[in-house]
């Protein structure tokens, strides 16, 4: 099986196959100079609980947490939590067709919408603040990803939103 695994704008195409009672994962790693090398690891996996992945990787003992999120997993390794998107390339075309990603504004952080700075139909510039979401006494301004027109507003001031919630849509 092949997956496209994306962490912070770097995508690796990872092949995974069972091998004996373990898993074999293989991908091509590109270093800073553009040199390519093949990584291949035999992983003995144990999941002490659904979210905990304990892995013996070529004898090395590693542990990661994987909690499903809107676009993949929130993965933590030794204190660093990262969003990891895992895409099955066979289903990718389908998903891209359905989504309309360009002008969608969603929040990474759950919170409360304290101010809507635009109205339906307003012309906006890329980078212009559109909504203010507050959580834990901190305000976060969310900015327009593109130049365009506000085509849809999905929340009202005072609404509490979950992480990943769609707030509004800007059409180019």
């Amino acid at each position: 099986m092949k997956y496209e695994v994306t962490i912070r704008e770097t995508t690796r195409v990872v092949t995974i196959e069972p091998e004996g009672a373990c898993y074999r994962l293989t991908w091509t790693e590109t270093d800073l100079d553009g040199e390519e090398s093949v990584e291949s690891h035999l992983v003995d996996l144990l999941r002490p609980s659904p979210e905990a992945f304990h892995m013996l990787i070529d004898d090395g003992s590693w542990e990661a947490g994987c909690v499903p999120s809107a676009d993949g997993y929130l993965v933590d390794v030794v204190g660093v939590t990262t969003s990891v998107a895992v895409v099955d390339p066979r289903r990718k075309a389908l998903r891209l067709g359905a989504a309309n990603a360009g002008g969608l504004l969603s929040t990474q952080m759950p919170g409360r919408v304290v101010r809507l700075l635009v109205a339906l139909g307003d012309a906006v510039k890329k980078g212009q603040p559109l909504v203010v979401v507050e959580a834990m006494k901190m305000e976060n301004e969310l900015k327009s990803p593109i130049d365009g027109k506000v085509a849809e507003i999905c929340v009202a001031e005072g609404t509490t939103v979950e992480s990943g919630a769609r707030l509004l849509r800007v059409d180019p």
Partner: protein, 506 residues
């Protein structure tokens, strides 16, 4: 240090008017003294740890603190209803609210904190500066009164010399403070400080201080009983700050000469005496490594977040001490009994995303394993499965390590952070490890300017393990895709795998 038994009459049952780790901390101290406890909670906090740990729990209103944790009359009502005879305010919320302290006493309850008059005296920054000057305590050069006009302020700034600090007289917690480097920036800084002060503290009074370059933030812990005895418990170095919020705290401060420590401690006891202080309090100073001088900054008339490091090196349980002092006991040790033994460091674990400009990261903790073992202390406010709410402070726990020296404390803390597993939300764990590995931090001579934007950029990227994350996420997805009915490998299922594992069991 053989303590007498606690006078039982005044603390029959204690209500803790707070939430999170500090409410848990206070409940623990009460239970150790066999005092029953009452938690109060907002509607958003039914599942909070302090509710689980307390003996009783009373709901006091909706999620926003203005409708629950800041509603003094509801808290007092809850105390009377449950038969509590005393209230501990923790830190934050109503802990430095003199009016609430008075209400508590007027309701016939014991207030586990300093007298309202002491809170008031220290509550106004300018008022506190005046009192301290009168008591002979060194303060940062500047005004001791709020300044009326921009013109007057500018004249004083030019006399003192730039850079200067504009500060809200009613401020606190690192808010309402602005540095002005140049004459040309003064007008706009003056206006924005005043408006922020009005917005945040409902008080637009602003005063002015000389800016002390690269100071250390050093503070002295004091304990005073109701019988006129006051001791200090040495200093804490809280200079690792981001946006004026403490991130790492330690004691002792390694660059503080012994004589300066003594002088600072003497001044701190003087300052407490000047307001007839009772209970646990902290006097904050700026210390200039360049000149060796120190200046009074403010007094916090409550328990501090960072009180554990003092506990670890002195062996004194500060919350237990607060309870016994409130019960009327005289201090059961003298200044001479107190020693600084070894070294302690605290880091604050926040639900925030350091790699995304420290954005708050509330959400469900999908899994949690806190570190343990020797000299590792976790003061936590959360548990596995807990939903960190959006309504309150993002601090989820404090991690404190003691060592026989600073190197041992540091390496132990690094080990404990390595064990810390918080799943499903972003935290500051790796960022804190990166700070502890920083050479300047390791030298110990860092100042409050330590976390420069450049250093932050560097430290927030440390500790990434993208290959391991890649492997784990791929496994998660593959097992989800291929065995959706039973996605979890149980230990049992894995036993048979061992036999088949190349190079495994023989």
């Amino acid at each position: 240090m053989s303590p007498p038994t606690l006078s039982p009459s005044r603390l029959k049952k204690v209500l803790v008017a707070n939430r999170g780790e500090i409410a848990v901390r206070v409940i623990r101290a009460c239970h150790e003294l066999d005092i029953p406890t009452v938690a109060v909670y907002s509607e958003a906090d039914r599942a909070a740890l302090h509710v689980r740990n307390a003996g009783e729990a009373v709901c006091i209103g909706p999620a926003p603190s203005s409708e629950s944790y800041l509603r003094g009359e509801r808290i007092i009502e809850a105390a009377l209803k449950t038969g509590a005879t005393a209230i501990h305010p923790g830190y934050g919320f109503l802990s430095e609210n003199a009016a609430f302290a008075r209400m508590v006493v007027e309701a016939g309850l014991v207030w586990i904190g300093p007298p309202a008059s002491a809170i008031e005296a220290m509550g106004s920054k300018t008022g506190a500066r005046q009192r301290m000057v009168a008591a002979g305590v060194p303060v940062v050069p500047g005004t001791t009164h709020a300044i009326d006009t921009e013109e007057e302020a500018l004249a004083i700034a030019e006399k003192i010399g730039f850079p200067v600090m504009l500060k809200a007289a009613g401020g606190g917690g690192g808010k309402g403070i602005r540095r002005v480097d140049l004459r040309g920036e003064f007008a706009s800084a003056w206006r924005s400080t005043k408006s922020e002060a009005l917005r945040s503290f409902k008080n637009d009074a602003v005063y002015l201080e000389k800016f002390v370059a690269n100071p250390k933030h050093v503070e002295i812990q004091v304990l005073a009983d109701q019988h006129g005895t006051c001791v200090h418990l040495f200093e804490r170095d809280c200079s690792v700050q981001r946006r004026n919020q403490k991130v790492v705290e330690e004691t002792p401060c390694v660059v503080l000469p012994a004589a300066t420590r003594q002088a600072m401690a003497r001044v701190a006891v003087q300052a407490a005496a000047a307001v007839d202080y009772v209970g646990a309090g902290t006097i904050e100073f700026l210390y200039s490594q360049a000149s060796g001088e120190f200046y009074f900054l403010e007094m916090n008339t409550r328990l501090q977040v960072e009180h554990p490091v003092t506990e670890m090196v002195t062996g004194v349980d500060l919350v237990r001490a607060q309870l016994r002092i409130a019960a009327g006991e005289p201090l059961w040790f003298t200044q001479e009994d107190l020693r600084q033994s070894g070294h302690a460091i605290e880091v604050r674990i926040y639900a925030e995303d350091p790699s995304n400009n420290f954005a708050p990261a509330p959400g469900r903790i999908g899994g949690l394993r806190e570190p343990g073992g020797p000299w590792v202390r976790v003061d936590s406010g959360v548990y596995a499965g807990y939903e960190v709410p959006i309504h309150y402070d993002p601090m989820v726990a404090k991690l404190i390590c003691w060592g026989s020296d600073r190197e041992e404390a540091t390496t132990r803390l690094l080990r404990a952070l390595r064990e810390y597993r918080v799943r499903g939300i972003h935290t500051s764990v790796a960022f804190l490890s990166a700070i502890l590995r920083d050479p300047e931090f390791r030298r110990g001579d860092y100042s409050t300017g330590f976390l420069t934007p450049e250093r932050l950029a560097h430290l927030t990227q440390a500790g990434r393990n993208d290959r391991i994350a890649t492997i784990a996420a791929t496994l998660a997805r593959f097992e989800g895709d291929t065995r959706p009915a039973r996605a979890v490998t149980t230990p049992d299922a894995s036993a048979w795998k061992l036999a088949a594992r190349p190079g495994g069991a023989r």
